[in-house]
């Protein structure tokens, strides 16, 4: 498949850009942060997004969705990187839909996917139990007894964990931490008895939570997929998550570049524009080149998911590793080239580095994905 957007995908990208610039620009992130917002986004934002069909993009038509594909959704998420927009798009419309669609039975899909598509249900994916992503290192246990499963354990840095209606929890029904076999996925109400949620204050101002499960009773009908065999669906969901985080980081790398380039053309020192200095020109040109590589790999990884390409997992790791490196370069260079004003809270450029790092870290940073890529490549 050609590495270009088709007309519909291009239109979606442009309309997402228009919408986000108008209703959820970077200034809105500041408002939410300063107001101590619980969700990290304006109250009506998710409703507006759902109305435009964004919640339904990855949902199959059979379950009331648009089935528009990953390349399309990727364009929206990339734009949210440019505007640093928080919303349930990632945790619900990407992770929730992918997990349920991969692992769920007909009844679960019919009910949950339709509700997500309509903007009536939000989800959060609870996987990691330490500060370092390690999806097989799951100790949270679920044991089958009378009336269903009882879940005990803890999860941390769960995106939207403080606000989502339902949690998708990876727990161990057998085996030991570190084993892929024995992991099962469960749907758990955030407000169920025994669930305690503690919102964490994070550098990007977004809504994450540490969650304790203390003998939480879950009916057997809320087991998502086969008992003990949840790792494949979890892994595919994490791959999707990483590709979308890469898409968001692409938006961040591009926007911080565009803003910095503009600054190089405005700021004068020694009586000339600082963009006339070769020391900065070469760094800008290198940065631009790196972003060009990023555009290619993100698009390819999105296309690979749409095509169910067997290279999709490797491409997810390539994309996440590359984008993490380049986002680091981009946000560091952005501040350095802005000089002192880049260090101020008043100026927006500093918001990009504060969102980039958590997005890089979530679901594995560049070291994690470089290692995983090597493993998948047989070395």
């Amino acid at each position: 498949m050609a590495l270009v957007l088709n007309e519909e995908q291009q239109m979606l990208k442009e309309s997402a850009q228009g919408f986000l610039n108008e209703f959820a620009p970077v200034a809105e992130l500041r408002n939410q942060r300063d107001a101590g917002s619980e969700t990290g986004y304006a109250d009506n934002l998710w409703g507006q997004m759902a109305e435009m069909g964004w919640a339904a993009i990855l949902v199959p038509e059979a379950y009331g969705g648009l089935e528009f594909g990953h390349v399309g959704m990727g364009q929206i998420i990339e734009q949210t990187g440019r505007t640093l927009t928080a919303s349930p798009l990632f945790a619900t419309a990407v992770l929730g839909v992918t997990a349920i669609n991969n692992a769920g039975n007909e009844a679960q899909k019919a009910q949950l996917l339709a509700a997500i598509a309509a903007g009536e249900l939000t989800t959060a994916l609870a996987v990691d139990e330490t500060a370092h992503h390690a999806p097989a290192q799951i100790s949270t246990r679920a044991s089958l007894g009378d009336g269903g499963y009882s879940i005990s354990g803890s999860k941390c840095f769960v995106v939207d964990g403080g606000t989502a209606d339902r949690l998708i929890v990876a727990a161990r029904t057998s085996g030991l931490a570190g084993e892929m076999q024995g992991i099962s996925l469960f749907l758990v109400d955030r407000t169920a008895s025994g669930v305690s949620v503690e919102r964490t204050q994070m550098v990007d101002g977004r809504n994450y939570a540490n969650i304790q499960f203390d003998n939480v009773l879950v009916p057997a009908t809320d087991l998502l997929g086969e008992e003990g065999n949840g790792y494949a669906a979890l892994s595919a969901t994490l791959d999707a998550g990483n590709v979308y985080l890469a898409a968001e980081l692409l938006g961040i790398a591009q926007e911080s570049f565009d803003r910095t380039l503009q600054y190089l053309k405005e700021r004068k020192q020694f009586g000339v524009l600082i963009g006339s200095f070769q020391a900065l020109q070469h760094r800008a040109a290198h940065w631009w080149s790196e972003v060009e590589l990023c555009k290619s790999v993100v698009l390819k990884a999105l296309q690979a998911m749409d095509a169910n390409d067997r290279q999709a997992p490797a491409l997810a790791s390539i994309a996440k590793a590359k984008l993490s490196e380049v986002a680091e370069l981009a946000t560091n260079e952005a501040i350095q080239m802005h000089g002192g004003i880049g260090m101020t809270d008043e100026y927006e450029i500093g918001f990009f580095i504060k969102r980039a790092r958590p997005a890089q870290t979530l679901f594995g940073d560049s070291s994690y994905h470089t290692d995983r890529f090597a493993q998948l490549s047989g070395f």
């Binding site: 631009w288 555009k295 590359k322 047989g378």
Partner: protein, 391 residues
């Protein structure tokens, strides 16, 4: 059966009948076919393969048939490449004629020049070299001083060229000469063609740090250049030169990534270092190899995307300057990693075991990748100025 399917079948059959068995494997190291009047073929098969492909026009598949080319459209050209790859067919001909002066002639040349020069290029009968750089004009190419004086019915050229690739083996040169000494730098330059056997043309090989001599310095001493051998208008050669430089950048950028044989860097590292519990034995090198492969994959995808964008008319996309800059830097990095992966073995300069010191010599050769065809710094200047608008 669609036309394309029929074309694929015909192509497959023809290749099956005409590609000698010994030409169905990657060419080892320097064993490339360059053609030309004085070329020594490494085998009868190599000659046969070049001649058969040349007669069919498939050494230049997308050139018009009226000039000896294959006349293939984009889809057919792709099929030809796929079918050649299917049987591991080698490139029948490596040629600066096909890569560089040919496309320039197609775009800027007179009908007579096209008729004269293109068919022999396609057939591999004439080997070309490029006379661009001079001792005082490297990155600052437009500062070239070699001149051609108008003698009425012909020009007389004097000066010195340097870094003439295979100048001692080539039959003809395309050469930038100053035809108007009073004009401002870029104006006053013409692109001239002449036979290397013309009296006064003296190529002398330059030995490189790699030990080989792929380049020459070429002295021009009262060389007669015919007036009908100027490409385009007199004094308007800079436009064509820039076009050719773009071509050269694409070629070097792309070539850098294609030249190390069948094994990936990761596979080479596995063979050289071994593994324990599924991981390469040296964890630091493992990370270095993986990072290179990730960047290599992203670069290859970018070359693909740029091609796709041009095809679909989506604007210019990433330019040749970026591909040249990134591709050559990446290639240098690859060889640095290959040295580490192979340890002291990589230092063997000669002998059977090291295939004549292939690795250290090739490694040293890559240092020129980011110099020739415009240095990395020049590419960054081009990106900053032309794409980013930084003055």
């Amino acid at each position: 059966m669609s036309d394309l399917q029929a074309f694929r079948q015909e192509t497959r059959d023809w290749l099956e009948d005409n590609c000698p068995q010994s030409m169905r494997s990657p060419s080892a190291g320097e064993d490339m076919c360059w053609g030309g009047r004085n070329f020594e073929f490494s085998s009868e098969d190599q000659k046969l393969w070049m001649e058969r492909m040349g007669a069919k026009g498939w050494t230049a598949p997308d050139w018009p048939t009226e000039y000896g080319g294959g006349g293939l459209d984009r889809a057919q050209h792709k099929i030809l490449k796929e079918e050649m790859a299917r049987i591991n067919a080698r490139s029948p001909l490596s040629s600066f004629g096909i890569w560089m002066i040919g496309p320039a002639l197609l775009k800027f040349g007179s009908e007579a020049l096209k008729q004269q020069h293109l068919p022999p290029i396609v057939r591999g009968e004439v080997r070309w070299c490029q006379g661009y750089s001079e001792p005082g004009a490297g990155s600052d190419l437009a500062g070239l001083q070699s001149k051609a004086e108008d003698m009425g019915d012909h020009f007389i050229a004097n000066g010195q060229k340097v870094w003439t690739s295979y100048g001692d083996k080539a039959d003809w040169m395309f050469c930038l000469l100053r035809t108007d000494p009073d004009a401002k730098k870029q104006s006053g330059i013409s692109l001239a063609l002449f036979d290397m056997e013309t009296p006064g043309v003296t190529p002398k090989p330059i030995k490189l740090i790699s030990g080989s001599s792929p380049f020459c310095e070429t002295f021009l001493d009262n060389v007669r250049v015919e007036k009908d051998q100027i490409v385009g208008e007199v004094n308007q050669g800079w436009t064509i030169a820039k076009y050719l430089l773009t071509h050269e950048r694409e070629m070097i950028g792309g070539m850098g990534m294609a030249a190390t044989g069948a094994d990936s860097l990761g596979q080479t590292a596995v063979k050289a270092l071994g593994m324990t519990e599924g991981r390469l034995n040296n964890p630091i090198l493992r990370a270095e190899v993986a990072k290179w492969e990730i960047d290599g994959a992203c670069f290859a995808l970018t070359a693909e995307r740029v091609t796709d964008e041009i095809k679909s008319g989506h604007g210019v996309g990433a330019t040749s300057a970026m591909l040249k800059y990134y591709g050559t830097e990446l290639n240098k990095r690859r060889f640095e990693t290959l040295l580490k992966v192979n340890g002291s073995r990589a230092m063997l300069w000669d002998g059977e075991a090291s295939k004549g010191g292939w690795l250290p010599r090739t490694w040293l050769r890559t240092k020129g990748n980011s110099i020739e065809g415009g240095t990395s710094e020049v590419q960054l200047n081009i990106i900053a100025k032309n794409i980013l608008g930084l003055g």
